[in-house]
Assembly symmetry: C2
Homo-oligomer: 288 residues x 2
Protein backbone atom coordinates (compact mmCIF):
# COMPACT_ATOMS: atom_id res chain seq x y z
CA UNK A 1 0.00 0.00 0.00
CA UNK A 2 1.24 3.43 -0.88
CA UNK A 3 4.51 2.48 -2.59
CA UNK A 4 3.53 4.03 -5.91
CA UNK A 5 2.12 7.10 -4.18
CA UNK A 6 5.32 7.46 -2.16
CA UNK A 7 7.43 7.17 -5.30
CA UNK A 8 5.48 10.02 -6.87
CA UNK A 9 6.18 12.08 -3.75
CA UNK A 10 9.90 11.94 -4.54
CA UNK A 11 9.27 14.66 -7.12
CA UNK A 12 8.24 17.15 -4.45
CA UNK A 13 11.65 18.76 -4.06
CA UNK A 14 11.73 19.71 -7.74
CA UNK A 15 8.07 20.68 -7.75
CA UNK A 16 8.23 23.12 -4.83
CA UNK A 17 11.81 24.42 -4.89
CA UNK A 18 12.33 28.02 -5.94
CA UNK A 19 15.24 28.48 -8.34
CA UNK A 20 18.02 30.96 -7.54
CA UNK A 21 17.47 33.36 -10.45
CA UNK A 22 15.25 36.39 -9.67
CA UNK A 23 11.78 35.92 -11.09
CA UNK A 24 12.10 32.13 -11.06
CA UNK A 25 8.87 31.90 -9.16
CA UNK A 26 5.66 33.89 -9.49
CA UNK A 27 3.87 33.96 -6.16
CA UNK A 28 0.78 35.71 -7.52
CA UNK A 29 0.26 33.02 -10.14
CA UNK A 30 0.44 29.96 -7.90
CA UNK A 31 -2.55 27.78 -7.06
CA UNK A 32 -2.62 27.59 -3.28
CA UNK A 33 -5.13 24.75 -3.25
CA UNK A 34 -2.92 22.55 -5.43
CA UNK A 35 -1.35 19.35 -4.13
CA UNK A 36 1.75 18.78 -6.31
CA UNK A 37 2.99 15.17 -6.45
CA UNK A 38 -0.01 13.97 -4.42
CA UNK A 39 -3.45 13.04 -5.75
CA UNK A 40 -5.41 15.02 -3.18
CA UNK A 41 -5.55 16.11 0.46
CA UNK A 42 -7.01 12.81 1.64
CA UNK A 43 -4.10 10.96 0.07
CA UNK A 44 -1.70 13.35 1.78
CA UNK A 45 -3.23 12.54 5.16
CA UNK A 46 -2.82 8.86 4.43
CA UNK A 47 0.80 9.12 3.30
CA UNK A 48 2.34 11.18 6.10
CA UNK A 49 2.29 8.49 8.80
CA UNK A 50 4.14 6.20 6.37
CA UNK A 51 7.16 8.51 6.60
CA UNK A 52 7.23 8.49 10.40
CA UNK A 53 9.51 5.53 11.07
CA UNK A 54 12.25 6.64 8.71
CA UNK A 55 12.05 10.22 9.98
CA UNK A 56 12.40 9.06 13.60
CA UNK A 57 15.24 6.70 12.71
CA UNK A 58 17.25 9.36 10.87
CA UNK A 59 16.61 11.86 13.65
CA UNK A 60 18.04 9.40 16.16
CA UNK A 61 21.13 8.85 14.01
CA UNK A 62 21.68 12.60 13.78
CA UNK A 63 21.19 12.93 17.54
CA UNK A 64 23.65 10.09 18.18
CA UNK A 65 26.19 11.78 15.89
CA UNK A 66 25.78 15.00 17.86
CA UNK A 67 26.33 13.17 21.12
CA UNK A 68 29.70 11.90 19.92
CA UNK A 69 31.85 14.19 17.79
CA UNK A 70 29.40 15.35 15.13
CA UNK A 71 28.97 18.95 14.09
CA UNK A 72 26.00 18.62 11.77
CA UNK A 73 22.49 19.85 12.43
CA UNK A 74 19.29 20.61 10.53
CA UNK A 75 17.26 23.81 10.64
CA UNK A 76 13.68 23.99 9.44
CA UNK A 77 12.57 27.58 8.87
CA UNK A 78 8.79 27.93 8.77
CA UNK A 79 7.34 31.15 7.37
CA UNK A 80 3.81 32.13 6.43
CA UNK A 81 1.13 34.70 7.15
CA UNK A 82 -1.33 34.37 10.04
CA UNK A 83 -3.40 31.17 9.71
CA UNK A 84 -1.00 29.67 7.16
CA UNK A 85 -0.57 26.70 9.47
CA UNK A 86 2.85 27.29 11.06
CA UNK A 87 1.73 26.00 14.44
CA UNK A 88 0.27 22.90 12.85
CA UNK A 89 3.61 22.16 11.19
CA UNK A 90 5.33 22.33 14.56
CA UNK A 91 2.71 20.15 16.23
CA UNK A 92 2.23 17.57 13.52
CA UNK A 93 5.58 17.42 11.70
CA UNK A 94 7.97 18.12 14.56
CA UNK A 95 5.57 16.05 16.68
CA UNK A 96 6.55 12.97 14.67
CA UNK A 97 10.03 13.09 16.17
CA UNK A 98 11.64 12.65 19.60
CA UNK A 99 11.20 16.02 21.36
CA UNK A 100 14.59 15.53 23.01
CA UNK A 101 16.32 16.01 19.67
CA UNK A 102 14.35 19.11 18.71
CA UNK A 103 15.12 22.77 19.35
CA UNK A 104 11.92 24.67 18.69
CA UNK A 105 11.86 28.42 18.79
CA UNK A 106 9.17 30.85 17.86
CA UNK A 107 10.07 34.46 17.05
CA UNK A 108 7.57 37.15 17.94
CA UNK A 109 7.91 40.88 18.29
CA UNK A 110 11.52 41.48 19.41
CA UNK A 111 12.01 42.06 23.14
CA UNK A 112 13.71 45.27 24.32
CA UNK A 113 16.91 43.27 24.81
CA UNK A 114 16.71 41.79 21.30
CA UNK A 115 16.08 45.22 19.83
CA UNK A 116 19.37 46.46 21.22
CA UNK A 117 21.21 44.05 18.95
CA UNK A 118 21.55 43.30 15.25
CA UNK A 119 18.49 41.48 13.84
CA UNK A 120 20.45 38.23 13.55
CA UNK A 121 21.53 38.25 17.22
CA UNK A 122 18.49 36.41 18.55
CA UNK A 123 18.63 34.02 15.60
CA UNK A 124 22.23 33.04 16.28
CA UNK A 125 21.41 32.30 19.91
CA UNK A 126 18.62 29.95 18.88
CA UNK A 127 20.50 27.86 16.32
CA UNK A 128 20.35 24.10 16.82
CA UNK A 129 23.31 22.44 18.54
CA UNK A 130 25.08 19.59 16.71
CA UNK A 131 22.77 16.61 16.34
CA UNK A 132 19.62 18.65 16.77
CA UNK A 133 16.82 19.55 14.44
CA UNK A 134 15.95 23.19 14.95
CA UNK A 135 12.50 24.46 14.05
CA UNK A 136 11.92 28.18 13.65
CA UNK A 137 8.30 29.31 13.77
CA UNK A 138 8.92 32.63 12.02
CA UNK A 139 12.55 33.68 11.76
CA UNK A 140 15.00 36.32 10.58
CA UNK A 141 12.78 36.66 7.52
CA UNK A 142 10.31 38.67 9.59
CA UNK A 143 12.96 41.40 9.44
CA UNK A 144 12.35 41.77 5.71
CA UNK A 145 8.62 41.01 5.90
CA UNK A 146 6.79 42.74 8.74
CA UNK A 147 9.71 45.16 9.14
CA UNK A 148 9.33 46.18 5.49
CA UNK A 149 5.55 46.28 5.27
CA UNK A 150 5.01 48.06 8.57
CA UNK A 151 8.02 50.32 7.95
CA UNK A 152 9.59 49.41 11.29
CA UNK A 153 12.99 50.38 9.90
CA UNK A 154 14.14 52.66 7.10
CA UNK A 155 14.09 51.22 3.55
CA UNK A 156 17.88 51.20 3.29
CA UNK A 157 18.02 49.08 6.45
CA UNK A 158 15.70 46.30 5.31
CA UNK A 159 17.08 46.59 1.79
CA UNK A 160 20.54 45.64 3.04
CA UNK A 161 19.22 42.67 4.99
CA UNK A 162 18.63 40.37 2.01
CA UNK A 163 22.35 40.17 1.37
CA UNK A 164 23.10 39.87 5.08
CA UNK A 165 20.70 36.94 5.31
CA UNK A 166 22.26 35.22 2.32
CA UNK A 167 25.75 35.61 3.78
CA UNK A 168 24.55 34.41 7.19
CA UNK A 169 22.92 31.30 5.77
CA UNK A 170 25.94 30.49 3.60
CA UNK A 171 28.12 30.54 6.72
CA UNK A 172 25.64 28.37 8.54
CA UNK A 173 25.57 25.78 5.79
CA UNK A 174 29.37 25.80 5.58
CA UNK A 175 29.51 25.12 9.33
CA UNK A 176 27.37 22.00 8.96
CA UNK A 177 23.74 23.06 9.21
CA UNK A 178 21.33 21.84 6.55
CA UNK A 179 18.68 24.51 6.09
CA UNK A 180 15.15 23.74 4.89
CA UNK A 181 13.11 26.90 4.30
CA UNK A 182 9.38 26.56 3.75
CA UNK A 183 6.92 29.34 2.98
CA UNK A 184 3.34 28.24 3.64
CA UNK A 185 0.98 30.03 1.27
CA UNK A 186 -2.76 30.17 1.83
CA UNK A 187 -5.18 31.93 -0.47
CA UNK A 188 -6.93 35.10 0.62
CA UNK A 189 -10.26 33.25 0.83
CA UNK A 190 -8.83 30.45 2.92
CA UNK A 191 -7.29 32.96 5.32
CA UNK A 192 -10.71 34.54 5.71
CA UNK A 193 -12.31 31.21 6.56
CA UNK A 194 -9.64 30.36 9.11
CA UNK A 195 -9.82 33.74 10.86
CA UNK A 196 -13.62 33.56 10.95
CA UNK A 197 -13.40 30.06 12.44
CA UNK A 198 -11.18 31.35 15.23
CA UNK A 199 -13.76 33.98 16.12
CA UNK A 200 -16.52 31.38 16.14
CA UNK A 201 -15.06 28.87 18.59
CA UNK A 202 -14.44 29.49 22.32
CA UNK A 203 -11.43 27.16 22.17
CA UNK A 204 -9.90 29.12 19.28
CA UNK A 205 -10.44 32.71 20.44
CA UNK A 206 -7.01 32.80 22.08
CA UNK A 207 -5.39 32.21 18.70
CA UNK A 208 -6.96 35.33 17.26
CA UNK A 209 -5.34 38.72 17.54
CA UNK A 210 -6.90 41.98 16.30
CA UNK A 211 -3.63 42.64 14.48
CA UNK A 212 -4.45 39.67 12.24
CA UNK A 213 -7.02 41.84 10.43
CA UNK A 214 -4.54 44.72 10.18
CA UNK A 215 -2.11 42.35 8.50
CA UNK A 216 -4.85 41.04 6.23
CA UNK A 217 -5.62 44.60 5.12
CA UNK A 218 -2.04 44.76 3.83
CA UNK A 219 -2.31 41.48 1.90
CA UNK A 220 -0.79 42.89 -1.30
CA UNK A 221 2.15 44.47 0.49
CA UNK A 222 2.93 41.18 2.25
CA UNK A 223 2.70 39.25 -1.00
CA UNK A 224 5.17 41.68 -2.57
CA UNK A 225 7.48 41.32 0.41
CA UNK A 226 7.32 37.51 0.16
CA UNK A 227 8.01 37.72 -3.58
CA UNK A 228 11.15 39.74 -2.82
CA UNK A 229 12.26 37.15 -0.27
CA UNK A 230 11.87 34.39 -2.85
CA UNK A 231 13.65 36.42 -5.52
CA UNK A 232 16.61 37.38 -3.40
CA UNK A 233 17.23 34.66 -0.81
CA UNK A 234 16.57 31.35 -2.54
CA UNK A 235 20.20 30.36 -2.87
CA UNK A 236 21.30 26.90 -4.05
CA UNK A 237 22.79 26.16 -0.61
CA UNK A 238 19.48 27.00 1.10
CA UNK A 239 16.62 27.23 -1.39
CA UNK A 240 13.07 28.20 -0.56
CA UNK A 241 10.21 25.80 -0.94
CA UNK A 242 6.81 27.39 -1.48
CA UNK A 243 4.10 25.15 -0.06
CA UNK A 244 0.50 25.45 -1.25
CA UNK A 245 -1.22 25.45 2.14
CA UNK A 246 -4.96 25.67 1.61
CA UNK A 247 -4.91 21.99 2.52
CA UNK A 248 -3.31 21.54 5.93
CA UNK A 249 -2.83 17.84 5.26
CA UNK A 250 -0.94 18.55 2.07
CA UNK A 251 1.26 21.20 3.65
CA UNK A 252 2.17 18.91 6.55
CA UNK A 253 3.02 16.05 4.23
CA UNK A 254 5.11 18.28 1.98
CA UNK A 255 7.16 19.66 4.86
CA UNK A 256 7.62 16.18 6.34
CA UNK A 257 8.92 14.92 3.00
CA UNK A 258 11.30 17.86 2.52
CA UNK A 259 12.68 17.37 6.02
CA UNK A 260 13.07 13.66 5.35
CA UNK A 261 14.92 14.42 2.11
CA UNK A 262 17.27 16.71 4.03
CA UNK A 263 18.02 13.99 6.58
CA UNK A 264 18.51 11.39 3.85
CA UNK A 265 21.03 13.64 2.13
CA UNK A 266 23.21 13.53 5.26
CA UNK A 267 23.87 9.81 4.74
CA UNK A 268 23.69 9.19 8.49
CA UNK A 269 25.31 6.10 9.99
CA UNK A 270 25.79 5.15 13.62
CA UNK A 271 28.78 6.61 15.47
CA UNK A 272 31.84 4.48 16.10
CA UNK A 273 32.24 4.10 19.87
CA UNK A 274 35.25 5.74 21.49
CA UNK A 275 35.60 2.78 23.87
CA UNK A 276 36.59 -0.86 23.32
CA UNK A 277 33.39 -2.88 23.09
CA UNK A 278 34.97 -6.19 24.11
CA UNK A 279 36.68 -4.66 27.12
CA UNK A 280 33.36 -3.18 28.23
CA UNK A 281 31.51 -6.46 27.72
CA UNK A 282 34.05 -8.14 30.01
CA UNK A 283 33.80 -5.37 32.62
CA UNK A 284 30.02 -5.55 32.56
CA UNK A 285 29.97 -9.37 32.80
CA UNK A 286 31.86 -9.15 36.10
CA UNK A 287 29.02 -7.12 37.61
CA UNK A 288 26.34 -9.69 36.84
CA UNK B 1 -13.09 -0.77 25.72
CA UNK B 2 -10.76 0.05 28.58
CA UNK B 3 -13.16 2.05 30.74
CA UNK B 4 -12.85 -0.33 33.69
CA UNK B 5 -9.10 -0.57 33.24
CA UNK B 6 -8.85 3.20 33.10
CA UNK B 7 -10.92 3.54 36.28
CA UNK B 8 -8.50 1.23 38.08
CA UNK B 9 -5.64 3.43 36.90
CA UNK B 10 -7.09 6.31 38.93
CA UNK B 11 -5.57 4.68 42.00
CA UNK B 12 -2.03 5.17 40.70
CA UNK B 13 -1.41 8.44 42.52
CA UNK B 14 -2.06 6.78 45.89
CA UNK B 15 -0.21 3.63 44.90
CA UNK B 16 3.05 5.29 43.85
CA UNK B 17 3.21 8.46 45.95
CA UNK B 18 5.79 8.62 48.71
CA UNK B 19 4.47 10.04 51.96
CA UNK B 20 6.19 12.98 53.64
CA UNK B 21 7.27 11.21 56.83
CA UNK B 22 10.85 9.82 56.79
CA UNK B 23 10.81 6.06 56.31
CA UNK B 24 7.42 6.16 54.58
CA UNK B 25 8.84 4.22 51.70
CA UNK B 26 11.34 1.36 51.62
CA UNK B 27 13.20 1.39 48.33
CA UNK B 28 15.01 -1.88 48.99
CA UNK B 29 11.77 -3.74 49.54
CA UNK B 30 9.92 -2.65 46.42
CA UNK B 31 9.15 -4.98 43.52
CA UNK B 32 10.50 -3.26 40.44
CA UNK B 33 8.70 -5.58 38.06
CA UNK B 34 5.31 -4.81 39.60
CA UNK B 35 2.59 -2.98 37.67
CA UNK B 36 0.39 -1.34 40.35
CA UNK B 37 -3.15 -0.49 39.22
CA UNK B 38 -2.59 -2.21 35.88
CA UNK B 39 -3.01 -5.91 35.08
CA UNK B 40 0.27 -6.30 33.23
CA UNK B 41 2.72 -4.62 30.87
CA UNK B 42 0.69 -5.52 27.78
CA UNK B 43 -2.34 -3.81 29.27
CA UNK B 44 -0.22 -0.76 30.06
CA UNK B 45 0.85 -0.51 26.41
CA UNK B 46 -2.79 -0.70 25.37
CA UNK B 47 -3.99 1.94 27.85
CA UNK B 48 -1.47 4.74 27.24
CA UNK B 49 -2.76 5.86 23.83
CA UNK B 50 -6.22 6.19 25.38
CA UNK B 51 -4.91 9.08 27.49
CA UNK B 52 -3.44 10.96 24.54
CA UNK B 53 -6.38 13.12 23.51
CA UNK B 54 -7.09 14.46 27.00
CA UNK B 55 -3.39 15.06 27.63
CA UNK B 56 -3.06 17.05 24.39
CA UNK B 57 -6.25 19.00 25.07
CA UNK B 58 -5.19 20.01 28.59
CA UNK B 59 -1.72 20.90 27.36
CA UNK B 60 -3.26 23.23 24.79
CA UNK B 61 -5.42 24.89 27.43
CA UNK B 62 -2.38 25.45 29.64
CA UNK B 63 -0.46 26.84 26.66
CA UNK B 64 -3.36 29.15 25.78
CA UNK B 65 -3.47 30.37 29.38
CA UNK B 66 0.25 31.12 29.23
CA UNK B 67 -0.20 33.07 26.01
CA UNK B 68 -2.69 35.37 27.67
CA UNK B 69 -2.14 36.37 31.30
CA UNK B 70 -1.52 33.01 32.97
CA UNK B 71 1.34 32.32 35.33
CA UNK B 72 0.94 28.59 35.81
CA UNK B 73 3.22 25.89 34.48
CA UNK B 74 4.00 22.22 35.05
CA UNK B 75 7.38 20.65 35.69
CA UNK B 76 8.03 16.94 35.28
CA UNK B 77 11.24 15.89 37.00
CA UNK B 78 12.52 12.54 35.74
CA UNK B 79 15.18 10.77 37.79
CA UNK B 80 16.61 7.27 37.59
CA UNK B 81 19.88 5.40 37.19
CA UNK B 82 21.39 4.62 33.78
CA UNK B 83 19.02 2.47 31.68
CA UNK B 84 16.05 3.28 33.92
CA UNK B 85 14.26 4.62 30.85
CA UNK B 86 14.48 8.38 31.26
CA UNK B 87 15.01 8.97 27.55
CA UNK B 88 12.04 6.76 26.74
CA UNK B 89 9.84 8.85 29.01
CA UNK B 90 10.86 11.99 27.15
CA UNK B 91 10.34 10.38 23.76
CA UNK B 92 7.11 8.54 24.45
CA UNK B 93 5.35 10.59 27.14
CA UNK B 94 6.46 14.09 26.19
CA UNK B 95 6.15 12.89 22.59
CA UNK B 96 2.37 12.63 23.07
CA UNK B 97 2.15 16.41 23.35
CA UNK B 98 2.69 19.43 21.10
CA UNK B 99 6.46 20.06 21.16
CA UNK B 100 5.77 23.80 20.98
CA UNK B 101 4.40 23.74 24.52
CA UNK B 102 7.27 21.71 25.97
CA UNK B 103 10.51 22.89 27.53
CA UNK B 104 12.77 19.86 27.68
CA UNK B 105 16.12 20.06 29.37
CA UNK B 106 18.62 17.36 30.18
CA UNK B 107 21.21 17.96 32.89
CA UNK B 108 24.59 16.35 32.47
CA UNK B 109 27.92 17.00 34.13
CA UNK B 110 27.91 20.74 34.97
CA UNK B 111 29.78 22.97 32.55
CA UNK B 112 32.59 25.21 33.83
CA UNK B 113 30.17 28.14 33.77
CA UNK B 114 27.55 26.20 35.71
CA UNK B 115 30.14 25.13 38.26
CA UNK B 116 30.87 28.75 39.07
CA UNK B 117 27.36 29.13 40.43
CA UNK B 118 25.15 27.62 43.10
CA UNK B 119 23.81 24.17 42.12
CA UNK B 120 20.32 25.58 41.57
CA UNK B 121 21.51 28.28 39.16
CA UNK B 122 21.26 26.15 36.02
CA UNK B 123 17.94 24.75 37.23
CA UNK B 124 16.39 28.19 37.68
CA UNK B 125 17.40 29.16 34.15
CA UNK B 126 15.68 26.10 32.73
CA UNK B 127 12.32 26.41 34.48
CA UNK B 128 9.26 26.33 32.22
CA UNK B 129 7.71 29.67 31.27
CA UNK B 130 3.99 30.20 32.04
CA UNK B 131 1.87 27.84 29.98
CA UNK B 132 4.67 25.39 29.36
CA UNK B 133 5.29 21.85 30.50
CA UNK B 134 8.91 21.53 31.50
CA UNK B 135 10.60 18.14 31.42
CA UNK B 136 13.87 17.64 33.30
CA UNK B 137 15.86 14.58 32.28
CA UNK B 138 17.92 14.45 35.49
CA UNK B 139 17.76 17.57 37.64
CA UNK B 140 18.93 19.28 40.81
CA UNK B 141 18.61 15.88 42.49
CA UNK B 142 21.85 14.81 40.83
CA UNK B 143 23.47 17.21 43.30
CA UNK B 144 22.48 14.91 46.17
CA UNK B 145 22.90 11.68 44.18
CA UNK B 146 26.04 11.54 42.03
CA UNK B 147 27.52 14.42 44.04
CA UNK B 148 27.06 12.40 47.24
CA UNK B 149 28.09 8.97 45.94
CA UNK B 150 31.12 10.17 44.00
CA UNK B 151 32.03 12.64 46.77
CA UNK B 152 32.14 15.56 44.37
CA UNK B 153 31.52 17.94 47.25
CA UNK B 154 32.10 17.71 51.03
CA UNK B 155 29.42 15.89 53.07
CA UNK B 156 28.29 19.09 54.78
CA UNK B 157 27.65 20.61 51.36
CA UNK B 158 25.39 17.90 49.98
CA UNK B 159 23.87 17.43 53.42
CA UNK B 160 22.60 21.02 53.37
CA UNK B 161 21.13 20.63 49.91
CA UNK B 162 18.09 18.57 50.90
CA UNK B 163 16.65 21.51 52.80
CA UNK B 164 17.67 23.92 50.06
CA UNK B 165 15.84 21.79 47.51
CA UNK B 166 12.71 21.63 49.65
CA UNK B 167 12.70 25.42 50.09
CA UNK B 168 13.33 25.94 46.38
CA UNK B 169 10.48 23.66 45.34
CA UNK B 170 8.09 25.24 47.85
CA UNK B 171 8.80 28.65 46.30
CA UNK B 172 8.29 27.23 42.85
CA UNK B 173 4.93 25.72 43.74
CA UNK B 174 3.84 28.96 45.43
CA UNK B 175 4.69 30.83 42.22
CA UNK B 176 2.39 28.61 40.17
CA UNK B 177 4.41 25.61 39.03
CA UNK B 178 2.93 22.16 39.56
CA UNK B 179 5.80 19.75 40.14
CA UNK B 180 5.60 16.05 39.31
CA UNK B 181 8.68 14.12 40.46
CA UNK B 182 9.15 10.58 39.24
CA UNK B 183 11.96 8.20 40.19
CA UNK B 184 12.21 5.32 37.73
CA UNK B 185 13.48 2.23 39.48
CA UNK B 186 14.83 -0.79 37.61
CA UNK B 187 16.11 -3.92 39.30
CA UNK B 188 19.79 -4.78 39.26
CA UNK B 189 19.16 -7.68 36.88
CA UNK B 190 17.14 -5.57 34.47
CA UNK B 191 19.89 -2.95 34.41
CA UNK B 192 22.37 -5.67 33.50
CA UNK B 193 20.22 -6.84 30.61
CA UNK B 194 19.76 -3.33 29.26
CA UNK B 195 23.45 -2.47 29.43
CA UNK B 196 24.35 -5.78 27.77
CA UNK B 197 21.83 -5.05 25.01
CA UNK B 198 23.46 -1.69 24.34
CA UNK B 199 26.82 -3.39 23.86
CA UNK B 200 25.30 -5.92 21.50
CA UNK B 201 23.70 -3.63 18.95
CA UNK B 202 25.55 -1.25 16.59
CA UNK B 203 22.63 1.20 16.80
CA UNK B 204 22.80 1.25 20.61
CA UNK B 205 26.54 1.51 21.21
CA UNK B 206 26.37 5.31 21.34
CA UNK B 207 24.06 5.09 24.34
CA UNK B 208 26.64 3.17 26.34
CA UNK B 209 29.29 4.92 28.39
CA UNK B 210 32.05 3.13 30.31
CA UNK B 211 31.04 5.14 33.35
CA UNK B 212 27.76 3.19 33.35
CA UNK B 213 29.63 0.20 34.76
CA UNK B 214 31.40 2.39 37.34
CA UNK B 215 27.99 3.59 38.48
CA UNK B 216 26.68 0.04 38.54
CA UNK B 217 29.56 -0.98 40.80
CA UNK B 218 28.23 1.53 43.31
CA UNK B 219 24.66 0.21 43.16
CA UNK B 220 24.21 0.08 46.94
CA UNK B 221 25.51 3.60 47.47
CA UNK B 222 23.12 4.96 44.84
CA UNK B 223 20.19 3.10 46.37
CA UNK B 224 21.02 4.64 49.74
CA UNK B 225 21.29 8.08 48.16
CA UNK B 226 17.89 7.62 46.48
CA UNK B 227 16.40 6.44 49.78
CA UNK B 228 17.64 9.66 51.40
CA UNK B 229 16.07 11.73 48.61
CA UNK B 230 12.72 10.02 49.14
CA UNK B 231 12.97 10.39 52.92
CA UNK B 232 13.87 14.05 52.90
CA UNK B 233 12.35 15.71 49.83
CA UNK B 234 8.92 14.11 49.33
CA UNK B 235 6.94 17.09 50.56
CA UNK B 236 3.15 17.31 50.26
CA UNK B 237 3.46 20.24 47.81
CA UNK B 238 5.77 18.19 45.56
CA UNK B 239 5.75 14.51 46.45
CA UNK B 240 7.89 11.85 44.87
CA UNK B 241 6.41 9.02 42.87
CA UNK B 242 8.50 5.87 42.70
CA UNK B 243 7.83 4.06 39.44
CA UNK B 244 8.58 0.35 39.08
CA UNK B 245 10.40 0.47 35.74
CA UNK B 246 11.39 -3.06 34.77
CA UNK B 247 8.53 -2.77 32.31
CA UNK B 248 9.05 0.24 30.08
CA UNK B 249 5.40 0.15 29.02
CA UNK B 250 4.24 0.31 32.61
CA UNK B 251 6.62 3.15 33.53
CA UNK B 252 5.52 5.21 30.53
CA UNK B 253 1.85 4.70 31.30
CA UNK B 254 2.35 5.56 34.97
CA UNK B 255 4.16 8.82 34.20
CA UNK B 256 1.59 9.73 31.56
CA UNK B 257 -1.20 9.22 34.08
CA UNK B 258 0.54 11.23 36.81
CA UNK B 259 1.12 14.09 34.39
CA UNK B 260 -2.50 13.92 33.29
CA UNK B 261 -3.62 14.04 36.94
CA UNK B 262 -1.48 17.13 37.47
CA UNK B 263 -3.05 18.86 34.48
CA UNK B 264 -6.55 17.85 35.56
CA UNK B 265 -5.95 19.36 38.98
CA UNK B 266 -5.39 22.76 37.36
CA UNK B 267 -9.02 22.91 36.23
CA UNK B 268 -8.03 24.50 32.94
CA UNK B 269 -10.56 26.48 30.93
CA UNK B 270 -10.09 28.60 27.82
CA UNK B 271 -8.88 32.18 28.27
CA UNK B 272 -11.33 35.06 27.96
CA UNK B 273 -10.27 37.19 25.00
CA UNK B 274 -8.98 40.70 25.70
CA UNK B 275 -10.71 42.01 22.56
CA UNK B 276 -14.39 42.41 21.65
CA UNK B 277 -15.40 39.38 19.58
CA UNK B 278 -18.32 41.08 17.82
CA UNK B 279 -16.22 44.10 16.89
CA UNK B 280 -13.60 41.81 15.41
CA UNK B 281 -16.18 39.77 13.49
CA UNK B 282 -17.40 43.00 11.91
CA UNK B 283 -13.88 44.17 11.09
CA UNK B 284 -13.04 40.82 9.55
CA UNK B 285 -16.28 40.70 7.52
CA UNK B 286 -15.27 43.93 5.79
CA UNK B 287 -12.13 42.26 4.44
CA UNK B 288 -13.95 39.40 2.73
Amino acid sequence: MGRKKLARLDGIDDALRVGPEPGAFDLAGMDRAATPCVKDAATAAELRPLLGDELADLQERLYAEGRTDGTRSVLLVVQGLDTAGKGGIVRHVAGMMDPQGLAIRSFGVPTPEEREHDFLWRIRRALPAPGRIGVFDRSHYEDVLVARVKELVAPEVWEARYDEIVAFERDLVAAGTTIVKVALMVSRDEQYKRLAARLDRPDKLWKYNPSDVDTRLQWDEYQAAYQAVLDRTSIPEAPWYVIPADSKDYARLAVTKLLLDALRSLDLGWPTPDYDVDVEKARLAKTR
